[in-house]
Amino acid sequence: MSQINRLVGGQVDRDQTLNFTFDGKPYQGHAGDTLASALLANGVRLMARSFKYHRPRGVLTAGSEEPNAMFELRDGARREPNTRATTSELFDGLIAKSQNKIGSLSFDFMAINDQFSNFLTAGFYYKTFMWPAAFWEKVYEPIIRRAAGLGSISLQDDPDDYDRGFLHCDLLIIGAGPAGLAAALTAGRAGAQVILADEDFTLGGRLNSERLNFADQSGSDWAVQTLAELVGLPNVRVMARTTVLGAFDHGIYGALERVSDHLLQPAPGKPRQMLWRIYAKGSLLCAGATERPIAFENNDRPGIMLAGAMRSYANRWAVTPANEVAVFTNNDDGHRTATDLHAKGVSIAAVIDIRPDAPQSQHYEVIAGGQVINSRGRLGLKSIDIALPGGDIRRLSCGALGVSGGWNPNVHLTSHHRGRPEWMPKIAAFGPPAEGPAGLRIAGAAKGDLSTAGALRGGAEQAHGWLKDLGFTPTTLDLPETEDAHISITPFWAVKGCKRAWLDQQNDVTVKDVELAHKENFISVEHLKRYTTLGMATDQGKTSNMGGLAIMAELTGKAIPEVGTTIFRPPYTPTAIGAFAGRDQGKKFRPTRRTPSHVWAEEQGAVFVEVGMWLRAQWFPKEGETDWRQSVAREVLATRKSVGICDVTTLGKIDVQGADAAIFLNKIYCNGFAKLAIGKTRYGLMLREDGIAMDDGTAARLAADHFVVTTTTANAVSVFRHMEFARQCLWPNLDVQLISTTEAWAQYAVAGPNARQLLQKVVDPEFDLSNDSFPFMACANITVCGGLRARLFRISFSGELAYEIAVPTPYGDAMIRRLMQAGIEFDATPYGTEALGVMRIEKGHAAGSELNGTTTALNLGMARMVSKAKDSIGSTLSERSGLNGEDALKLVGLRPVNFSDPIPAGSHLMRKGDPVDAAHDQGYVTSACFSPNLGHAIALALVTSGDSRMGEILRLVSPLTGFDHDVEVVSAHFIDPEGERLRA
């Protein structure tokens, strides 16, 4: 009743009425409708405004190539801009709003742009808006930016989930029209693993849009029957609502499945959309073809659409855009539209065919040799002007015009590997390139076989070929007989003399713009595209590119294949960014690594910090502490006074075993390891081959053929990779085996004067921890708590008497609790990464800020560690003169001259009295902190010839953060420079 343009028949379910709104007004449609078909059913032709001129626009197509009918779909945080009405499945409660307008759709204030179209031609940005110089950014650009763009986003976080997944198949068939269905049936029956994917929600392609006889049934019934068989085969996966968006290397395809877009919102736990990565041994493109328009003056009014789309609306959705329609065509296919609509009871005003020998009809008028030269109707088509063969002009009233300029094969995926489509004179269109992606074959209209029977045959034959190549035994299908029309087309792109005739309806590119580009010598297709923005809209030029090329060909006097065509790039249709990201969003952006003491630390109220993938306790606030600095100072002081405990599990740990383990480490580290005694640990510095410090750590020798190497937390992965490179590529004959044990051991640093006493309470009594039997840098396999295997290392990052004790990770939680319990009598204090950092700066240990990818052993004050007596990675190139200059940066300590001044990291250093600029830069602060032990700020810095400048006063500047005061160069060892504490 309200659906005034609904016809009989079709594939909509009239028992299911769905309510929706468009710009606030309620409408009704049926299950099986798209938003476009439902709006047309309700007599709505005006759906959008164009990008630049804000011209009134209606629907042009019935598929994903639609340039005009785009909406902001849904509302609130789920608002989706630029959503095509032609691919939006109708659901109950759908909300659609028109976009890119100020005011209402029928009265858009921005339509004024249309009056200034002379000014806004192709390339207008580049030639105008420059003067005066300041005006572009301050005046013109803001105006342009406000006016530009299409839909708007909600600015709220997307509430829906996305998934990604992986599929494998023998044969991927892209498109489930006649060619795809015939191919799938052939391959499915032969037992191959088949994926049949189609972007539509009802499969069958053009079979649903045409009135075709397949022997004794209709084409659409054949599709239904075929699909039923395919769905029943366990080796065939039929994927509707799935767009294959790109052909990537080696048979990998990306595909987007719209899992929930046809629902009001996704079901709990279900994604909105899903990105599939499909691994296909073979693939077959059966993507069909897209009809193209003919350009004529004012060819963009609502009501003017592609003839094939008009047929789809009538046959599949039982909808007509108006009750009196005309058709403008240069080929036989256009006549089908008139025939089909006439059969549905729609009045046909006329068929205007440019060909003088156009086929005639007994049901309606055919104007052979005529051309549509203009149209009228402000917000929707009212009439067209026709140039008759004799030269007279006739005005014909009609509410809709179907235009058919021929069909372009959907070759997009075939040129994703940069193959250039090739001209096919027979159909006057570009077909697939000779060199497409390896493993991608083509059938049906996508290959230029535009008849239904040709598509069926082609699909079956190509599947047959693939099956044989993949080792299957195919049987031949008994294909139904159907339409096998000869193609008759007279290439015709634009009516002579037309100017404001739209080629690219979305980007408002007209014939005139192409002429202008030609005049300004932007004649190569790549330049034409960029200069006019032809084909660069969200429809990716699916209906527009061909016309632009053809007109450029005419202007340059070349044949179309000489002008050439641009290539297509993924994705085939615009694809939600969320889908590419899958579940890796928000807090789930990357997995989290938790230390063995994580649960315990949470109980203590620890504040955590991200260190790579790890979450580490940064400090442990206590009641009454209002500033993190208080907590950190307390942790540092308590550790230096008695004992502190820190989870150091995150350091990389690599088990190095084998007869040649020591030889191997000698090559990896710049310092020597061959002579390290069993039961001892040594600090090691690893260089990159170019002589830059890569990482540092310790290697503990547990047996003659067994070391445990530690790395920094940040470099655990890259150091392991580097060691595998050395083992497999450089020295493949060494007997060395590597395995990461970072995760296997929960490791705690126990540091401070009372560390030994505390540990003695948990280490089993048969292990003697005295300084004599377990001195500084000792290591051993021991047992704790009555027999649990553990490893003990006497190493110190804090500069205190310190140990690191490791137990198998499942006992890590119990171990931290036991250590804390045993430490009660010593006021044992847990400390986090901040206190750890303070203590290592106090001790002058280099860390990540110093090993920052620019420093050598020399810069770090460790030049003597680079052994000249052996070959190690980086040793040769670290000898280059530039790395050993007199003025090389050296690691030093800094303290403020005025003890109340801070020393912020990232500050630069200047000589007193020098100008403050880059040319006089003396170095920079790498790490800094407030030392609670010294009562003032301290820092590590890299200073030119720093080691010979002790006592010099430098000017510290940080213009970025506003600091400028004096600091003194001192030794980097602020605490216990002689190392008495750690040897105690």
Binding site: W136, A148, I252, D584, V611, R880, S958, L960
Partner: protein, 321 residues
């Protein structure tokens, strides 16, 4: 920067230089220290830089995911004079300017070889004939290896594929350029409304000018990490371009060992934004046979001598830059 700022009037062509600022997000204390150092270095070199607090960032960019993130935003380093330029317009503007100054621009003309005699380069063989020249200046980003190979030169450069992406047109949301500091992602919005974004290299040598899915996914993960509002925005198109990745992340503007043959390349990701400065310094070298003050460090012999270039040091693996 100043060359950009005066470019449009110099060329009488609107390259759409738009100084809407660039913001590098900070996600850790170590990163803040490193960015502080960098910001100070920028100021000491005469550029501008501004360290922004989390609060200011949240206020200016309310849609950024500051706290509900795997790597929360802890600040940002902003350069307010940074921004974007319309790349096609730059190329067209330069071409037009050069043309007007009497430069012959020959399109679709491939250099197929060098004519070298007695260690001196006399000219180039091309697909359209021989062209002699007193000085031959190579600047073919992406194809440096292929071109200089014709002069039997090997370079400290690999060619890699870097993908770039653009979204559908949207009403303005992003004022400037924003980069993600805990992953690989940058984004800005063009005057036409499309979001222009990208991230990491695909990571393998390639001249194929197309990328693969893993990096597309990685870039979009980065997008969603800082802009969860972009979930429903559609990616419209992807490209793969060839990048000259030098071994230390810095470019080379230098004479070669062949007399009369000069080289400018190895710009890694930075080539486009350095275009005016790169051309300026190259012209200086060509005119005077001496490196420009700003380009003294960008010479071939730095690898041999071990001369480090400040602020870099990414190692001899170009894919690690």
């Amino acid at each position: 920067m100043k060359l950009w700022e005066g470019l449009e009037q110099d060329l009488n062509y609107n390259a759409m230089v738009s100084q809407r600022g660039i913001l590098n997000l900070i996600h850790s204390d170590a990163q803040r220290d490193a960015f502080t150092r960098r910001g100070n270095a920028m100021i000491l070199n005469g550029a501008d830089a501004d360290l922004l607090s989390t609060e200011i960032i949240q206020k200016r960019y309310p849609f950024l995911n500051v706290s509900n993130a795997r790597f929360p935003i802890k600040g940002g380093l902003a350069q307010h004079r940074g921004g974007t330029v319309r790349h096609d317009a730059v190329a067209w503007g330069y071409a037009r300017g050069a043309d007007q100054m009497g430069v012959d621009i020959i399109q679709n003309c491939e250099v197929t070889g060098f004519r070298i005699k007695g260690g001196e380069c006399l000219g180039v063989e091309t697909s359209r004939g021989y062209v002699a020249g007193g000085k031959i200046a190579a600047c073919v980003a992406g194809s440096s290896g292929r071109l200089m190979g014709k002069a039997n030169m090997r370079l400290p450069i690999e060619s890699h594929v870097l993908q770039a992406f653009v979204s559908e047109g949207l009403k303005p949301v992003l004022p400037g350029v924003i980069t993600f500091g805990a992953g690989h992602f940058y984004c800005s919005q063009s005057d036409k409304g499309g979001l222009v974004f990208g991230g990491d290299l695909d990571g393998y040598n390639s001249y194929a000018q197309r990328g693969n899915l893993p990096v597309v996914e990685d870039v979009c993960e980065g997008a969603m990490a800082i802009f969860p509002m972009l979930g429903r925005v559609r990616l419209l198109r992807m490209w793969g371009g060839i990048m000259d990745m030098s071994m230390d992340g810095s470019p080379i503007i230098d004479r070669t060992h062949i007399e009369g043959l000069y080289f400018n390349g190895g710009w890694c990701y930075g080539g486009f934004k350095a275009t005016p400065a790169s051309g300026w310094c190259y012209a200086h070298l060509l005119a005077t046979d001496a490196p420009h003050e700003f380009a003294k460090a960008y010479r071939f012999d730095r690898f041999e001598k071990g001369l480090m270039i400040d602020e870099k040091g990414v190692g001899n693996n170009p894919q690690l830059h």
